[in-house]
């Protein structure tokens, strides 16, 4: 049985919205890595110019997910695009702050705010 996709996504205009799955914490590290590369490739091949990562209140995550975010960011940067994070749990927010990733991307409470953040930067 194929492992569930840790990074299912949808498009909202020219924004790719990725919703992280709760099962991420239990997934094989290698799967998270390879699937994040698949996601980055999909972004590159799509018409999207911005990306929103909805953390879906994921309780916590390891540095492997931080690396996955950077992989996606490289694909977004290559298009001159923008990325925003949203819907982080309290500890998840702390992880992003500890890693100083809040200096790279806006961290928003809601998906709507994150969409607004990337769209306003695209204008």
């Amino acid at each position: 049985m194929k492992a569930p996709d840790p990074f299912p996504f949808e498009t909202s205009g020219n924004v790719l919205v990725v919703t992280l799955q709760q099962q991420l914490a239990d997934m094989e590290q290698a799967t998270v890595v390879s699937e994040s590369q698949v996601l980055a490739n999909r972004f590159s091949e799509s018409a999207a110019t911005a990306c929103v990562i909805d953390f879906n209140q994921l309780e916590y995550f390891t540095s492997t997910l931080l690396e996955a975010l950077l992989r996606l960011w490289n694909a977004v940067k290559a298009k001159g695009g923008h990325l925003a994070l949203c819907n982080l749990s309290p500890v998840g927010h702390e992880i992003i702050k500890v890693a100083h990733f809040d200096r790279l991307w806006p961290v928003c409470k809601t998906r709507e705010q994150a969409l607004q953040a990337v769209l306003s930067r695209c204008e």
Binding site: Q29, R71, A99, H100
Partner: protein, 303 residues
Amino acid sequence: MPTILVVDDLAADRILAGGLVKKIDEMTVIYAEHGKDALEQIELHLPDLVLTDLQMPEMNGLELVQAMRDDFPLIPAILMTAAGSEGIAVQALEQGAASYVPKKHLAAELHETVVRVLASSAEERSQTRLMYRMTETTFVLENDLELLSSLVSHLRQVLQQRRICDESDTIRVVTGLDEALLNAYYHGNLEVDSALKAENHNSFHELAEQRRTELPYRNRQISITARFSPAEAKFVIRDQGGGFNPDDLPDPTDPDFLERPSGRGLLLMRSFMDEVTFNDVGNQVTLVKRKTQVSNVDDEVPA
């Protein structure tokens, strides 16, 4: 003699439910008028079970169940449901309530439901009492990520049972442990260099997978010793690799390194644990988390 807390804003309903509970062998009954009052009573008396109405002022039954799940996860809650509150009852069950009894069927069903819920929670309490008496435990694991993940879940449970810290801090500790174990696995036993990630992320994991089956890597193990005292939890994680010097790692928060693909594991460990120390070789790390104030409950060992 079990203690049952009956929570209902209507005095007549409290008395009715309390009277039915008292008819069950050797039960002590205490009362509260709403959820907030109930939480105070729980802190004072640590009842064995909470029997609660759903619709109450100040804090309703659903909110009470949610609060109990966070602060008193081992105390089961039974809901008393009035007609029309079935939807909220389902929500409460999903949030962790043990069972429910419609108010119109209290006389017929309460006795059996209370006895059944107390019996199943007794086993869990017994396990907690046992865990509280564990001072040290050691695991020796082969290079298996699934085992490491299971270990982290187990240690999380022990931390919750020992009430070393609150739920948020427990999650932080779990994050730190996860990172330490991943370091021991990838960089310790399998000696896969983070520099590979900068070239090709897949190469890093492909090499790790390859080395899992090759000598000398495949026979290496990771040992984890967890020591618990009233004041702290200490975890000693040792791999069988050649070690490293943690001072050689660049600061991942330095703007020049911010977008590097690796190097944040140690940062997260240090941020979320009170102490992180390596041995001279660099193949053993000790992580310490000191006890924080969990609640106003007496910190005595459960009898």
